[in-house]
Amino acid sequence: MTHAQQWQFWIDRGGTFTDVIAMHPGGALSSHKYLSENPEQYADAAVYAMREIMGVPEGTAFPSTDVAAIKMGTTVATNALLERKGEPTLLLVSKGFKDALLIGQQHRADLFALSPSRPAPLYKHVIEADERIGARGDVVKALNTEALHEQLKEAFTAGLRSIAIAFLHGYRHQQHEAQAADIARSIGFTQISVSHKVSPLMKLIPRGDTTVADAYLSPLLSRYVGQIRDAVGDTPLYFMQSNGGLTSADMFEGKDAILSGPAGGIVGAAKSGERAGVQKLVGFDMGGTSTDVSHYAGQYERVFDSVVAGVRLAVPMMDIHTVAAGGGSICSFSQGRFLVGPASAGATPGPASYGRGGPITVTDCNVLLGKLQADLFPAIFGLTGDTPLDKAAATQGFQHLADQIETETGTRPALEAIAEGFLSVAVEHMARAIKRVSIERGHDVKNHALLSFGGAGGQHACLVAEALGIDTVIIPPFSGVLSALGMGLAVQSAIANKALETAISDETALKSAVQCVTLEASRKLEKQGIAKQAHHLQITLQMKYLGSDTSLPVPLGASDAMAAAFEKTHHQQFGFTDTDADIIIHSVEAEASGGGSSHALEMEAGGTTTKPTHTREVNWHGTSNMAAVYQRETLKPGHAIHGPAIILENGGTTIVEDSWQAVLRPNDTLHLTRTGSSIKQHQITSKPDPILLEIFNNLFMSVAEEMGGVLAKTARSVNVKERLDFSCAVFDTAGNLIANAPHMPVHLGSMGESVKAIIAARGKTITAGDAYMVNDPYAGGTHLPDITVITPVFLDATSPAPDFYVASRGHHADVGGITPGSMPPHSKTIEEEGIRFTDFQLVVNSRFAEEAVIELLSAGPYPARNISQNLADLKAQIAANQRGASQVASLVENFGLELVHSYMGHVQDNAEEAVRRVIADLKDGDYSYAMDCGGVIQVCIRVDRAARSATIDFTGTSAALNNNFNAPLAVTNAAVLYVFRVLTGCDIPLNAGCMKPLTLIVPHGCMLNPAPPAAVVAGNVETSQAVTNALFWQRRPWLLPKAP
């Protein structure tokens, strides 16, 4: 039997649904959806589906000769990881490192958590092996094999069968790991994952985590694969790996299984995009609980270091960013704000309109507005799973919300206005997340098309596209089951990689590494049954500058060509090249691929209708319209549908918004293009509209985050690029903080003082095309290495004063002073800590004042040591500010200056109110805190409950010290703001409003408000911590946080 006469099944087994595309003998495709878990009906959804589609009853043999191939993606591994339900695993690690994976990089995920948490480790037990190899392969301590045998035997007797082995420098110097694996094998361990095989790359923590994940997931995965194998006999069976390539079932490993399902979605999106003639696309896969975002511009984008469910994975994976927002995201009204998510109604109870008592969600907004019509939607809801969408339940939920809004604000909005408001907030959230991840990856999405798929994608695609400035939306055929389609269109692949860390000129080392990875990748693909002559080989090098951690992929070539390619990519991505730094080859990767699906996608639109099938009442912008409803399957290709309209298809609904037009192309792809703007004109009101308030909170934050994205991308120093020691912010015309994207709590709120210092010093001479820099701890700075660049924004060249300011603060590696790195332990005056400047004009008439900066940083007894690096980081800060300025300008263009100004005020009032609410629950307190450095911090908090304000009085604190533990006032402010932000316990916008209810009394000349020339470098790191401790340790429980 030839392939054309056989079946093929492409299956995506998700958490809730199993999607199946069947290729029938003859080549026709059909799509099917099954519940993944349905124990009353079947043991396995995939096997049941195939039998049902082919009409082969249970109890008869699976017709494996009739099936050419089964290609599957599965979330079995992902779910086991999320739910921590893998195989009990033993971790074997070098002596001294038993807690290394648990501690990781020791940072906390939530900056403002009073009780910071970390994900539970995957391993059940850990043993230290008595061995040590140095970084260059020197055997410091030979492996004590006898002791190890005893240790492993004991763990085996205790019942462990799965082991992960990760020794220091084992990725390169493998002998001890190999010996340990042999011992484990001799004892009888059945799953042995060894770090140099699982992920032969430098960095113990991610490699160790990956090895543990492999040992933890592989046994489970092989049981699942075994079940399928038993059920389908010797039918060729392939699984999708996280890297986007298929592998034969017997070679499917835990480490490669985490993104098995979503990777199929990217392949499906990429192939569909190519078919639609789109060069650059943003993949937008919106489901019930989350939305997956990806990019494609001719090549799959992969990452080597991702974190899934708190586990670091150092294996090549498709670059997918998951946003916690979907159709099931819960809508609520709290403290004057319209909030969407991050909590989700999940599969049970689901949205209110699912009829099982669920909360109001994004889906319910669409039901209430009529964008989803109950009678045109499958009846699969309710307690029995067979009733239509329950619009009455949704309406009731919205009435409750309206009651609550009325009680809190005094006005009762129309239910439709509430629903539309939540939708706008949800769309803005998603757009903000997509913008952020796109900039981080170096993409400007404006010239991309949005390729929408997944259950909820089509309902929001036009709105999200518009918020991103995108004019084209593509809804491909099979958009409801695109991941399954991707399984069918992917090729088989095998990847091998090897760490190098050698200079680009070391051709011998490179040659042998290339040979080694090529052989390994080819061998793996051959084992999958693909003959060597059919292999497509691609060798990619990860290259970086010496001393940097940011590597970039470059195809193998002559060393000159590779260096040129690296520099070109580096310049594209980061805006600079470093002519002084050596180029290093970090690692080498070989990918062997082949055996792809030969069938082109030959779907054709076959409909003939130009008339709507129904007309339905839908609410748009507060008015009711009659919207035409079409059925995609019967639509005539080429016919233009003008919004507002609804297009239904099996497994999805597409909303054509009122300024959009939809055309179904002959290749069955739905193209939506923007014909105008559907942005609503807003009225200026003295009282803020809570919906606009939330949207502006988001938009202002988005500006600050975009600035941060540009800065992290273009900065040169490790401090900014990798330690993320920077912050960006937006200010109003008076220098009040509007929005702040902090990475460092100590930068909180203090940048406003720096902006105000510039306004005070430069007053009316500030003109368009200027930028200033300041690092003076006595002018809003924190310590000298933190340099703030401030750019005034003039919307109109004739404006008498700046309309806004944007600023970015970065920690520079060195600004002079008595020790390299400008963090001297024994400085006694600020002069010994580096160069200090208060209002230095960095950009004059749009020209970077390079000579003047060099002169400034080279002056004095302790000049800066690496000025070219300062210059590079300053240029990156200017670039970040420019991005901020243009984003603020486009906000004004969209909403009008007056409205933007009024919401700059409203967001501050809202943050102020959030802090006042906390204060109302606090009690008075006081504390005296003695530091090792000799200083005493005395603090007393007096709460005025009626006025809902508090005075934080540091009177009695020691006078400035004769060491560097003095904290500039900005640091003291930041510590206080941090404590109150933690106390609010919710995600309030951080702006100048937060400080309004707080009065700080910090006597001039004390160690928390010192005068020059007091030294301050430890104030930023040590004393700031002591201030927070003193505030949290009040003798009376003034701060008892309420349960969340």
């Binding site: 001294g96 490192f97 038993k98 807690d99 290394a100 648990l102 501690i103 990089q105 020791q106 940072h107 906390r108 900056l111 009073l114 009780s115 910071p116 948490s117 970390r118 970084a135 410091v140 220091l168 990725y171 430098m202 960095k203 113990l204 923590i205 991610p206 951690d549 990798e722 330690r723 993320l724 020691d725 990475h743 460092m744 709590p745 100590v746 020790t819 390299p820 790195g821 963090m823 332990p825 024994h826 003695a930 530091m931 090792d932 450095c933 533990f965 930041a974 510590a975 941090y978 430890a1018 790191v1021 040590e1022 911590q1025 002591a1026 949290f1032 340790w1033 429980p1037 008892l1040 946080p1041 349960a1043």
Partner: protein, 156 residues
């Protein structure tokens, strides 16, 4: 915060080593994690040893260093670095003379310490803010402070 720097004319390195966080009215503290004003990340041990002439001998959770109470403070960390060349090393830290106090009857966490063990076996304790010259073979061990406990422990 345990700011630890070392270097010479060729190398300079700066790291912040976390302690344990304090317990609260409904939760234990967390072991060896950045708290409050600090949240910088730590270089991977293999990268550290590849770039600098040092060997990390131990990086672990400092057992029983969190203050006891109804809820226990988080444990600090133990970080032991052996130097393979002559360098200057410096520490800027707090809670060396007294540990982080407990709240509502909880006990204080253990104070931190910075100890140098010379190649000949002699040991010295460094001050909270201190500086020393290290030689090849010397080991500096930093024990970071534990978090304070919260509430009286009824079983005590």
């Amino acid at each position: 915060m345990n700011n630890f720097t070392f270097g010479n004319d060729t190398y300079q390195y700066y790291q912040t080593i976390a302690g344990g966080t304090g317990a609260g009215p409904s939760f234990d503290g967390t072991d060896a994690i950045q708290s409050h004003m600090a949240n910088s990340r730590l270089t991977d041990p293999e990268v550290l040893e590849w770039r600098y002439p040092v060997r990390l001998e131990e990086f672990s959770i400092r057992k029983n260093s969190g203050g006891t109470g109804r809820f226990t403070g988080g444990n600090g960390a133990v970080r032991s670095i052996r130097f393979l060349e002559e360098m200057e090393a410096a520490i800027l830290s707090s809670h060396r003379s007294a540990g982080a106090p407990g709240l509502k009857g909880g006990h204080a966490g253990a104070a931190g310490s910075t100890c140098i063990t010379r190649l000949d076996g002699k040991t010295d304790l460094l001050q909270a803010a201190d500086q020393t010259t290290v030689f090849a073979g010397d080991i500096i061990t930093i024990q970071t402070p534990g978090g304070g406990g919260y509430g009286e422990n009824n079983s005590e």
